[in-house]
Subunit: 385 residues, 4 copies
């Protein structure tokens, strides 16, 4: 069953690349995005480096250079330069990277053809979840890169599932109440979860009401048209600086053409669908919108406790919680340990999952996190009052 | 009594400037510091603008330009340029600024010679606390500016109270325990407090033990000498970037001269006193030190709850809490309202008070906050395990 | 004959791309380089925009978007952003760009199948020379991009003609004298030349002696090993800043591996050949080397007058002349006019031609020019005393 | 007579500071300007370091720190930081700097009371010319700093000599012709000149006509109002980038208030005098204006040869010559040698002198030079056709 899940995950990554030309595999638009080719190779390297080289007798690495090229754990200045230059690595070719994938796939299959220890199974499971994270990033990064092409290329003409067009909701919005008291938060089950979700613990919540549905594009256009981006008092001080230094006047990918709002989607340039759920906003924008509404964002614990009462999974939802460790959190040693703890500063937590998130990769306790100015993720907003 | 407190506060500010030459009143070393002259004028402007022009009949402003020059509430790019150029404002002269102070002092005295409303009293109280904040900043900023002079000038040869030299503690360190459970935090009394302390509310704390005393310079030298600044694994990812891009190898003002640690103090360049309490460290350094010790920093609520059990007041103490609003926090309208809420992003909370804090300006519920890379405040570190 | 030259030039460009994978056509390493795909398309666009759309009746543009994507004349900020993002343009594909080339080739052939005016012939000639310039840039830019790949890819294992490996000279160096007096400089013939070479005019030269051969890698290693890059007094003030802010310690592409100098070449990473002619140095380095030798660089007029006495054509040779207009120079109107005059500031003149220069594209009066910190061209150095 | 010239020069520097408050001596507005206090001290240090410590027996330096604080020859990064922090050096005080001046004055007087060698006389002469250069810079830098104060302070209410207000000319402009041929340029006499003027040599000039008078503010307003700052084609490529990245729309210090051009002068904010000679323009602006007029700037040799035919001395006049060494120029060894040669890159030559230039400090062969974007000097423009 683990092998089946492994194979299914690996295939799904490749299916996401089916609509691509070889040219599309190459560019890296900015430091924080990666080329499709890199995602394909890096997720493979994870299985090779963390599992095959350590637990498969007689394993021969596919290419000795790949460890350096497709590793993401950078500490020194020279290596950071390499990180910003992923888009310049024309060699190995796309074809060679697929050969690498298939070689590693076969070797994992060989490994799993015999009895393996629980810790090896746990590492393979981690690798699967790691690859699922990169499936989401592959789509998100690809959208970012393609959006910068003046001819607004189409990834898939009707790839609605991963885009912002038809993800809307028409149900009536209402308010869901939660009573003051002590609640338990954090992951409780026996399945896979990341280290930052562990350490289930009690928190004290005050009374609050949370919206049953997310803010829509139409809602947000009201904010824009009321002058929201020009009114200092709605914004955090850092947000106002960000706005002005980057000339931000709308969510990422939005463009006003002759008075009509359009946005770039993975199906090309489209008119903004007012009924659809808002996406590609920063924390600053989420916070300013809530302020304008005289409401606020939920904390991550309010969200987690209330999440049984509403549907979620279309957008990563900004919370008002900074990304900090749970009680008892310890950064584990080595590369696996660097996974999460290193980033617990200057980041805000998002809860939920998005239309780009792979199936079986979401949980109510999942903690995503980004710096407050990031817009490139499929991020949205739910109000609390 | 309010008048007496007002006059005492105003005099104390001027007494801090007694050791200065006129030259010392002028420079602004970096964007986030201000010249002594500006602190003297800005605190005065606050009383003029918020109180005298609104509540004293027939009040004539001292100089119509001063509102623009000594206001700190900036929204537009042009005004931000002015913020970074406070050190270029050679006119009005220092003498004129003192005249401005004395004029406003007399007018406040005139206002208080008659019955005034509670809201006016509240504003004067706010102005006094505002000036006390600037007294601390005046010293902190001055230390920063003077430290950049290669000849390490002396502010006061024996001004021990405001400096890091002799603030040490020799008492035995021990661990103070706090039991898991629901606690109340936030300001409870009837006296003055800032808006960010209000909204007393319940929180749930886990069991923890907190150190009775702060980390000393001697403790920290062990960290440095063990290679702490060169070991990636102790540091947050952002902290490691900061370290490397700014070549940080020790707390601010520290300098290794022929193998011996020295630091710049307001009494000049001195050998580091190993018994004295550590100061001028960033959150990144505090966090890395705790990580190296296999311990952690307290949250702001752990600190507040435990603070009755230990002495504090020498250093602002970094906590592991991000600066976020308390339940029910509302940003008030207008300039007074911009006081705190605008900054609730990308900042960590410090609790306590420091040797540079004015008397009567500290409370256990007081929330100071800075971005995690700031070292210029008298900031220190208390461990939790 | 013009058609034959046109076709031969067009084919040669494509032959330079024969060793490339599709992946190699995409990346743009830095602002001042362009991807192979862009060079292929831009040179084609020049013929379409300057000639076919104006002089071929009924000409239909291949794709209306291409004018925007492959134009290099940028004036506004938005367009400059596009310039830095040539490496993100994965669509149109490489295949579509080749179709574009062949379509334009056929149309030019159609145009030339009838009588055309002299001015059309002149424009086609200009287009041919323009494409030859881009042939050189294609190789130079490609080398730059590939050099940033940690695996040092091979463009052609024995592509000696365009690389720095075997271009050395073993002949004895001697000094060639030129007598003081009035000389004529600038283009004199009836063939093609660029506008910046026109305006043949008299200059007065002093006595000088110029080296018969260029400085070699071996010569330059002596400068490096004598501490040349660490000695302030050899360098121009701007050059010293450049050196220190970019950590320059050798010519571009050089790397010291275990005490042995290597360089990246289009045939991969090789040991530096000491007999070969030095390449990839900035003006700052050329000037510092000459200063160290207590000699100097020639002016562009000294070089031009003396050039009949020595062989040249392996390296672009830095001169000590700033790039400025000749007497009577006028910037022509329109896009063609922007060719050269716009850049007559903060650039130094190089004379000669290099191993990457296309055949029939060099003249003794040719004026190449770059900012003094540029190293990515095949630039070298000839001494004068 | 040398002593008299020395004393007169030293006094004149101090007389320029007579209108200053102590506060005005302190700030450094940008890296390329220096505070009055620094100019006072640095010119003094030159006499101490280059002459007194070497040639006056038993000379005791005034303060051992001053060599480091007031030296301008920086090579390392740490020292460059100090250069940008001249405005933070509140100690030594202004009073101490005057004591330093008077101490050095007395010692020079003591030195000159006995016979001294020709080389010592030459160094004192160099020190006098060095101080005259700093007199001009003192005024120019002061104007820059004061201009950034929103209250536009007055240095001297009727200090017309050093400002741009009443320096106009009403005489009829006419064109002066120079015939093609060989001319001699460079310093010829026996008096003092800088090393960059030496090496009198022959140049060949073409026929040209040069304007008898400088461009006026009124002339330049026509250029502005015709859209000159918004028309790409008039500008050098680098100039257009500079314009756009710095939002330049007029000469430095100009401000359009309700449709009327004003400028900051050392006598405060004034309406622009249209008859007065244009000042505070960059090379880019000078070049664009000439281009708009379908004329050009003179080369430095055209200017020098023609200068006997017109009056000059109000503005430094931009020429179209890059700042490069004359034939036979050698950079002398040591600190004195670094005077000029280090800067012979990326700078354009200005000829003439300005209203801020000290008496006896101008010659027709004098070569001033600045990077093409500098506006803060009293720079103007004379046309050639």
């Amino acid at each position: 069953m683990l092998l089946a899940l492994f194979q299914q995950t690996r295939k799904y990554t490749e299916s996401l690349c089916a609509p691509l030309n070889i040219e599309d595999y190459i560019p890296q638009a900015v430091d924080f995005t990666s080329p499709p080719k890199w995602h394909l190779a890096h997720t493979t390297w994870f299985f090779e480096e963390m599992i095959l080289t350590k637990f498969l007798d007689g394993y021969a690495v596919f290419d000795a250079h790949f460890g350096f090229l497709f590793n993401s754990y950078y500490q020194s200045v020279g290596e950071k330069a390499v990180r910003a230059q992923r888009g310049l690595m024309t060699r190995p070719t796309v074809d060679q990277v697929y050969q690498y994938r298939h070689y590693v796939d076969e070797q994992i299959q060989r490994l799993l053809s015999k009895e393996v220890s629980e810790s090896v199974k746990a590492l393979i499971t981690l690798g699967i979840h790691h690859e699922q994270q990169h499936q989401e990033l592959l789509l998100t990064d690809l959208k970012y890169t393609l959006s910068l092409n003046p001819i607004a290329p189409v990834y898939q003409p009707n790839f609605n599932l991963v885009d912002s067009c038809n993800a809307g909701t028409s149900e009536e919005k209402h308010w869901l109440g939660v009573k003051e008291g002590v609640y338990e938060v954090g992951y409780a089950g026996d399945d896979f979860c990341f280290d930052n979700e562990r350490g289930r613990h009690k928190v004290y919540l005050q009374n609050f009401e949370i919206a049953s549905s997310l803010v829509t594009n139409g809602d947000y256009i009201e904010f824009i048209e009321s002058g929201g981006y020009r009114t200092f008092s709605y914004w955090l001080d850092d947000g106002w600086s960000w706005l002005n230094s980057h000339n931000i006047t709308a969510p990422l990918y939005w463009k006003n053409i002759d008075g009509e709002w359009h946005y770039y989607t993975l199906a090309g340039l489209k008119r903004v669908n007012k009924q659809a759920v808002l996406s590609h906003i920063s924390y600053y924008e989420a916070n300013a919108y809530a302020h304008w509404k005289k409401m606020r964002l939920p904390t991550e614990f309010e969200w987690e406790v209330a999440s049984t009462q509403f549907e979620w999974g279309q957008r990563w939802e900004w919370t008002s919680s900074a990304y900090l460790p749970y009680p008892g959190f310890n950064i584990s040693d080595g590369a696996v340990g660097e996974y999460n703890g290193k980033f617990m500063i200057n980041q805000m937590v998002l809860r939920g999952a998005s239309v780009a998130t792979s199936e079986n990769h979401s949980r109510a306790t999942y903690r995503n996190f980004f710096a407050p100015h990031f817009q490139w993720q499929f991020s949205g907003l739910r109000l609390v009052k």
